[in-house]
């Protein structure tokens, strides 16, 4: 067990460095000078550009820049951002917390909605309910989330006034963005749940359990649910990383000050330290979560040996 965890952490380090190295290379080939302009159309004073290039080591070769990043990272330092010139860790830490809050709320919604819908669809396969679930899940995927989010916003925040329009971090202002963010994954969880449940329902041990004359509810809860939930747990492990890094549109619509949006803004401004910071956090969280998920398997299914 301990060995397994250590090996996984070793893998995590490899993935972290692989991803950031590719990222550095990407940022390096992007056309445009990260410190070449002010916020917009105006070119910067060439003397200031030169000064900033020196300050951020932008005149150094790629390998050297990456080396600096790694040695700073080891000391927990992610550098200084190019526009406001604040510490990246200071800029990102409140955002990271906000996005985590949003992502956790979204996952709770995913799990509850997705599992329920998938359960119903699987138990009543090819019935009206099954088709309805398929229709709704497809619509959730087919409608862009900014459309869903903006409709929710104008209905519930502006017209009905149930929720605050501009998020202030409170629970009340969390509901709409979390729901918007959750919809797609809830749909995917529902489909996943339906699929695996259909498989499990057909498994020999379930047939045996039913043949033994166990009550339907017991069979469903003890055997079917428990075994169907494993892929869902895996999927959530994968999607959480995505949620953290990709909540950008939801965050933009609801003015949620998270890292997804920070990433997009940073990309537009070529504010590289922020991009690198977000990716560093994102990859670390992604890999850690997947480790947790794998450990969780062992709890859910004793047959699985960690090796």
């Amino acid at each position: 067990m301990g060995k397994y965890v250590i090996r996984r952490i070793g893998q995590m380090v490899i993935v972290l460095f692989g991803a950031t190295l590719i990222l550095f290379a990407c940022l390096f080939v992007l056309p445009g000078d990260p410190v070449g302009s002010l916020g917009g159309d105006k070119a910067r004073d060439p003397a200031v550009i030169q000064q900033l290039r020196e300050r951020y080591g932008l005149d150094k070769p790629l390998v050297e820049q990456y080396g600096t990043y790694v040695s700073n990272l080891v000391q927990g330092d992610l550098g200084e951002d190019y526009t406001q010139r604040r510490e990246v860790t200071e800029v990102l830490s409140p955002k990271l917390g906000n996005t985590a809050k949003l992502a956790v709320a979204a996952i709770v919604i995913d799990v509850v909605l997705g599992i329920l819908a998938g359960l119903i669809a699987a138990l009543f396969r090819y019935s009206f309910w099954d088709v309805l679930v398929t229709l709704l899940t497809t619509m959730a995927i087919g409608f862009p989330s900014f459309v869903i989010g903006m409709i929710l916003q104008s209905q519930f925040a502006v017209n009905l006034g149930w929720f605050p329009l501009i998020s202030d971090g409170s629970f009340n202002s969390l509901i709409m963005p979390a729901f918007t963010l959750a919809i797609i994954d809830a749909a995917l969880v529902a489909r996943l749940m339906r699929g695996t449940m259909l498989e499990v329902l057909r498994a020999d041990y379930v047939k045996t359990a039913i043949a033994k004359g166990l009550p339907r509810r017991t069979v469903l809860l003890k055997h079917v649910m428990r075994n169907s939930i494993i892929p869902v747990v895996t999927y959530i492990g994968i999607s959480f990383g995505g949620l953290l890094g990709g909540a950008l549109i939801t965050e933009a619509i609801f003015n949620w000050d998270g890292i997804g949006f920070a990433l997009v803004t940073a990309i537009q401004q070529q504010n590289n330290p922020i991009i690198v910071g977000v990716v560093t956090y994102g990859v670390a969280v992604f890999v850690l979560l997947n480790l947790l998920v794998d450990l969780l398997y062992a709890v859910l299914d004793p047959r699985i040996r960690l090796s």
């Binding site: 993935v15 590719i22 087919g142 990709g246 549109i249 939801t250 990309i267 794998d294 398997y297 699985i304």
Partner: protein
Amino acid sequence: MTELTKSDQGPDAATAQSAVANNTAEPAPARITQWGEIRHRFMANRLAVVGLVLVALLFAIAAAAPLIATHDPYAQDLTNTLADPSGDHWFGTDALGRDQFSRIIYGSRIAVVVGLASIFLACLIGCVLGALSGYFGKAIDSAIMRVADIFFAFPLLIGAIVIILVMGRGVLPVIISLGVFSWATVARLLRSSILSVREMDYVTAARALGAGTSRIILRHIMPNSIAAVMSYVSFSVGTAVVAEASLSFLGIGVSPEVPEWGNMISSARDFLGVKDFLWAYPSAAIVLTVLGFVFVGDGLRDALDPKLR
């Protein structure tokens, strides 16, 4: 919209991963059956047939777009912008007075091309790497899976921007960036599927009979592992169309004059609540497309895997 999250990796990625951890899970001993039987099972499934009709319709519309469209999709009419749907413009006109109906009809072409080509690319990379990983295991497996992890964790947006800026804007860079960032799921899926098939009796038998590695992979393992991939793929064709919309939303998709569903929706966003038909029709087109491919995918999976009947 998939928000450029990894959520478009599809649910089956999870099945794959659980199987990774769960090497002792029951294998799926699906024998490749006669095509006739598969077809029979597929056609018996009502939803699958509905899906097939939708997909066929999409292809027909894409092929016959010039015949169906009522207007030139590029023609502007600045005296008739943002017109509500009418007898002349069935789906109304956009901010430049272009006929929405015709643009949606022509948009099906890009939807088909982007959807299919990006998934094809993802499958190509994913299948090759997944098969290598699953069949050989050990160091090769470990290396390929680490690379897959990197691609899972890496933000699609940045990769896409780099690809699009280096190649220039257009349909091809969009296809490549979507493909390059979804192969990892296919690879994992196939790998785990192969892991469970690899030790089956008929594979051992083939090996004993002296069949070469590539022959074993192509003839014996792939056909039996492909069911899971098929279902993911059919689902992803739809999500690829939506992901293309996200790229347009962020200003790095195809050029704005191109009639493309994602483009149309993203330029309609500021008209929300004022001119809702601008996003409603293209969204409906995407939903129908996704629906068609999902039904077909489900039907295919069920037909290929008789255990699930």
